[in-house]
């Protein structure tokens, strides 16, 4: 007779799926190093330079502090978008067949993948966030913890958006183009790297409701003490609810219908 197998709880399954993402992340330190170096250069070359230019035209405005937070938010947005491409890669390598044959439901798989994408994004940006808090001189544990929560929530929503786009587009080549455009739109049409007031007027209403704007403003509030309304929190939560839900539903439907037919 076969030995009894150990029953896994849904939480254990989700953790194992996240663990898989983390194991692969640890094996690719160069990607992490590359992104960190890029971030540091942006911060200490670009932001310092622009801060000097801005200081003379907008007295009292510290662009370096403003940009440093936006840069972290932009980075996690860009990393969270990768999950859609991962799904295509897993399909192409046949990994999806393997993962779907394992003893957990497709819904848990979907949840675990999106969550794994968000955790991976958070791990990439966690040191960057610490660096920003340190150089901006706001070393409050509660503020940093709050920032991590905001980054994680944003990454979950962006993962959902990425999965939704991957499921709707269904072609890897088209997905690459669309995802580049989506990333550009969500980061550039937002108050991540420049204040809302200086964005072209026609785009201001869009940027105001961007989840990237909300996340950036919430973190600026948490660590810099800038003003931020409850509206930002509502926008962020709504964004996550809509796209995490949509992404999960689309992916689940595709998987239940017989994988990527």
């Amino acid at each position: 007779m076969k030995a009894q197998r150990h029953e896994l709880s849904p939480l254990s399954v989700i953790w194992l799926l996240v663990e898989r993402d983390l194991r692969t992340l640890v094996k690719s330190p160069w990607i992490l190093i590359n992104r960190t170096v890029f971030f540091v250069i942006q911060l200490f070359v670009f932001a310092v330079l622009v801060n000097k230019l801005v200081a003379s035209t907008i007295p009292g405005f510290n662009y370096f502090d403003f940009y440093s937070v936006g840069a972290v938010v932009s980075t996690i947005t860009s990393i969270a978008f990768i999950i859609g491409a991962d799904l295509f890669e897993e399909e192409e390598m046949g990994l999806l067949d393997y993962l779907l044959s394992l003893p957990f439901g497709h819904s848990l798989f979907v949840f675990g993948r999106a969550l794994g994408g968000a955790v991976r994004g958070l791990i990439y940006t966690a040191p960057m966030m610490l660096l920003v808090a340190f150089i901006d001189g706001y070393w409050s544990p509660a503020g940093i913890l709050g920032s991590y929560v905001v980054l994680f929530v944003l990454a979950t929503g962006i993962s959902g958006l990425s999965i939704t786009l991957a499921m709707v587009i269904r072609s890897e080549n088209r997905f690459d183009v669309v995802i580049a455009m989506a990333e550009l739109a969500t980061v550039r049409v937002s108050a991540a790297i420049y204040p809302l007031y200086y964005i072209p007027q026609a785009l201001q209403p869009i940027a105001a409701y961007s989840p990237v704007t909300s996340a950036s403003d919430l973190i600026r509030w948490a660590i810099l003490g800038n003003a931020s309304g409850v509206g930002n929190l509502v926008i962020l939560v709504l964004f996550v609810a809509i796209f995490f839900g949509l992404g999960s539903a689309f992916l689940f439907k595709r998987l239940e219908g017989g994988r990527f037919e």
Binding site: K2, L16, E19, Y98, P103
Partner: protein, 308 residues
């Protein structure tokens, strides 16, 4: 027990599996034979809940794939034809994660992994990232996942592809051992010697249909002419097959290159007569071979395929 009941699977208007009905008994090694694209992998994927059947029912140990996919997945382990795992990870990491996710008890996990790696001679390679390893080693790791998991229903898709002879023999022994422990084994293969040696019964799938099921010996016995004479000539004589077919016990005659292949009964008795006819027609016989039909012949017969 695995029961397939009129299973159909359609992809975009094409029926990949067409009304397969078949039962696999507990602790049986069931060989699934079929040419590429016959529907073997689709059947396996449907059984393991990766695909959803268009219609029909599959029961694994009494659990329906349609209504209790979770229960079914707890029972099954698949070794895929092409290794499917994160190639950035080492073999040990892959096996550890697979063992955890398939619910192998913590207390036995590492020992099983060590045992399997030792049997495969992979204790050193297990520390390398798998993308660096040879095709054969990658295949061993794919198989190792199932030998660590030891599922109730073990599915092996081409388990010995890319493997050298000693490794093939080892994998066969390990599959036998798995069955002896209580596993039911579904073995999809294109290697006839493997199917012949390993399978209690064989199912031949062609164009999505299960065209024959039986023990290897029983299937060999279903061929009209059980014996085969292969007569290599200096050059083929086109009218010779028709001439041979006039003999009552000869069921089929055709050329494969310069070799005249006869499917017949009583081959030993007819051999001198057949040579006489060939030489009388001006054939210069270079060699003659008389043999029993193999599973390969059965396969070619039922799938309607010819040797290239």
């Amino acid at each position: 027990m695995i029961e397939f009941k009129d299973v159909w699977k359609r992809f975009k208007g094409t029926d990949a599996v067409r009304g397969i009905t078949c039962t696999i008994e507990d602790q049986e090694i069931f060989g699934l034979l079929g040419p590429n694209g016959a529907g073997k992998s689709t059947l396996i994927m449907t059984m393991s809940t990766v695909y959803r059947a268009t219609s029909g029912e599959i029961l694994v140990d009494g659990h329906s794939v349609n209504t209790e996919p979770g229960k079914v997945k707890e029972l099954i382990g698949i070794s895929f034809q092409d290794p499917k795992y994160d190639r950035i990870l080492t073999a040990r990491e892959i096996l550890q994660w697979h063992a955890k996710v398939t619910g192998v008890e913590k207390g036995v996990r590492e020992k099983r992994i060590d045992d399997v790696l030792t049997k495969f001679g992979l204790t050193f390679e297990a520390r390398k990232r798998t993308w660096m390893l040879s095709g054969g080693t990658k295949k061993k790791i794919e198989n190792a996942k199932i030998f660590v998991q030891r599922p109730k229903v073990a599915v092996f898709d081409e388990p010995t592809a890319y493997l050298d002879v000693p490794s093939r023999l080892l994998v066969w022994d390990m599959i036998d051992e798995l069955r002896d422990e209580g596993s039911t084994v579904l073995l999809a293969t294109n290697m006839m010697d493997e199917a012949d040696r390993m399978s209690d019964r064989v199912g031949i799938v062609s164009k999505g249909e299960m065209v024959q099921v039986g023990t290897p010996d029983a299937l060999k016995g279903t061929l009209k002419g059980r014996d085969i004479i292969e007569m290599t000539l200096e050059k083929p004589i086109p009218e010779l097959p028709a001439e041979m077919k006039k003999i009552e016990d000869i069921q089929d005659a055709h050329f494969e290159g310069d070799t005249l292949v006869l499917l017949l009964s009583n081959g030993r008795e007819l051999l001198p007569h057949v040579i006489n006819i060939a030489t009388a027609k001006g054939a210069k016989v270079q060699s003659v071979n008389l043999k029993q039909p193999s599973l390969e012949d059965v396969f070619l017969h039922y799938t309607g395929m010819k040797l290239a």
